[in-house]
């Protein structure tokens, strides 16, 4: 186990070295986050309406609601995107084959390569929320931080399986990420990212209830905006854990099969 953690850290260190070779990426991202937070603030002031206020949770502004949804969506995007993107980058750079003949297994290579993007996404979200709290009165003081991190970790476990499935798809079909397309596409409407699902027509509300993203969004807003603790969020967290318990082992099995398949067809490193 210690060796696996060391191997994962090596990938993090490599990606940190690579990121540090680019000029001022962190400064540009911080400025981008400032403009993003400002955009949400002014859009929220513009779209404020009695109907929307009725649909929002008690005492919440649309700015806080939509920004929390947006930054959390960024995290989901990372969970769904990172595994197949790391695989694709390694394949395109020609490093996949040399990595595969080292003493590190492909699942560890994937997890290791995904580690830095997750840390970077977490930092980006922190900067976003920091700007929003300092300049636009985002209610960061209300957050229950242990619960926020609990929700992030649970969401990561629940959706990482879909990320691994995307990586398996990439191994077999070389391009495309249908899990990301489907989940993020459906969730942008029926996931509660920018508006409460209660304003949707009944059939879309049913889709939202079947969509795991809705539960993750509810849990995150509960922890971040309402300051609810882990126990108060037990229901959505248990649903997410159940999704993870089914998806993760299934996706690892499918990924192993896809890997074996590409070793049979000789297309492991094909683009």
């Amino acid at each position: 186990m210690r060796q696996i953690l060391c191997d994962i850290f090596l990938f993090f260190q490599r990606d940190l070295w690579i990121a540090s070779t680019y000029r001022s990426p962190f400064i540009l991202e911080a400025i981008e986050a400032l403009f993003g937070a400002a955009m949400f603030y002014y859009v929220a002031r513009f779209v404020d309406s009695p109907a929307l206020r009725d649909a929002l949770p008690q005492g919440k502004t649309y700015f806080a609601y939509s920004l929390a949804g947006f930054v959390f969506f960024d995290y989901l995007n990372a969970a769904l995107d990172t595994f197949d993107r790391s695989l694709q980058e390694a394949r395109d750079a020609g490093t996949l084959e040399p990595l595969l003949v080292t003493q590190v297994s492909l699942p560890v290579i994937l997890i290791g390569s995904a580690f830095y993007p997750f840390v970077a996404t977490t930092l980006r979200i922190a900067v976003y929320l920091g700007w929003a709290a300092v300049l636009f009165d985002f209610p960061l003081h209300a957050a229950n931080w242990p619960a926020v991190f609990g929700v992030l970790l649970t969401t990561l476990l629940a959706f990482a399986g879909l990320g691994v499935l995307s990586a398996a798809y990439l191994l077999l079909f070389k391009r495309g990420n249908p899990a990301k397309w489907f989940i993020l596409g459906v969730s942008s409407v029926a996931g509660g990212m920018l508006f409460p699902v209660t304003i949707l027509p009944p059939w879309l509300q049913l889709v939202a209830r079947l969509n795991p993203v809705t539960y993750a969004m509810d849990a995150m807003r509960g922890a971040l905006l309402d300051g609810r603790g882990i126990l108060a969020l037990a229901r959505p967290l248990l649903i997410l854990l159940a999704i993870g318990a089914i998806l993760l082992p299934t996706s690892v099995l499918i990924f192993s099969w896809a890997l074996r398949r590409t070793k049979i067809t000789g297309t492991l490193t094909h683009r």
Partner: protein, 272 residues
């Protein structure tokens, strides 16, 4: 310790046809119809150097990739240091150093040294050992300050040398090299062959299986030569025995006679 570093037993590899576009989606699991290796029996002894010689598409790279656990055989078995490449890939990877012959394979924005350190650590070497070996091998391969330049700024020959150092860094028991001197200049290539001969093969128990089109390289390094043609092993013997068997004055001529290919066909067909 097994007597043989590599054992191939009726090894076959067939590939499915490459389809693109919608046909690939409609027939994602096509049966293999293109033979790459057919019924190969071959044994490489501990400490032995064996060259794979064959025309393009003869199956040399496929054979090396099966041994490097990057491909699965269709039938038959390939074992390395007593471990089956299909069933015990992790154990096989602990024994090998693999050079793919490509001039890619490094993180473009990291220096040569950072790249080597990263791959060395993935082979579970300590930082101290990696640093010492990078210094020794870097000096031996004439890399000098190139080690501290980003990989994207290095020539293909320098990348090739880095790749060879990466294959040697963890001092593997079996070296698998695919055209190791392809992008090297004449002096660097000669130097590398000398290094392999005097410092890897002569001083250690390392076994070497390499693919090459350079007869001089094969003559210098190989104890035995495996001649492949269209996936079949036509002959496997010492260079001297191959020449004697085919009544040839050179290995090149022996290769041409065994494969039925004509030497100098381009020159002969040139109009006078």
């Amino acid at each position: 310790m097994p007597d043989h570093a590599i054992v191939l037993d009726s090894l076959e590899k067939w590939f499915p046809p490459a389809l693109g576009g919608w046909r690939a989606y409609l027939q994602p699991f096509r049966p293999p119809t293109s033979p790459a290796l057919r019924g190969i029996f071959l044994k490489v002894r501990q400490g032995e150097a064996v060259a794979l010689l064959g025309a393009n598409g003869a199956g040399k790279t496929t054979l090396l990739r099966i041994l490097a656990t990057l491909l699965l055989p269709t039938s038959g078995t390939a074992s390395l240091a007593g471990h089956d490449t299909a069933r015990e890939p992790a154990a096989v990877r602990r024994q090998i150093g693999y050079h793919a012959g490509s001039d890619q394979g490094f993180c473009a924005r990291l220096s040569g040294r950072q790249n080597l350190r990263f791959f060395g650590r993935l082979n579970h070497l300590s930082d101290r050992i990696i640093a010492a070996r990078i210094e020794t091998l870097g000096e031996r391969f004439g890399l000098g300050e190139a080690l501290d330049r980003q990989a994207r700024a290095l020539s293909s020959g320098t990348i090739q040398r880095l790749s060879l150092i990466r294959a040697l860094l963890h001092q593997p028991r079996v070296l698998l090299l695919d055209e190791p001197t392809r992008s090297l200049d004449a002096i660097a290539a000669a130097d590398f062959r000398h290094f392999l001969k005097t410092e890897v093969l002569a001083r250690t128990d390392t076994s070497l299986l390499f693919a090459s089109h350079t007869m001089q390289e094969i003559e210098l390094l190989a104890d035995r030569v495996a001649i492949l043609d269209e996936g079949k092993l036509l002959a496997f013997d010492t260079p001297t025995a191959l020449r004697a068997r085919t009544l040839s004055s050179s290995l090149e001529e022996a290769f041409a006679r065994l494969t039925g290919r004509h030497l100098y066909s381009a020159a002969e067909s040139t109009p006078e």
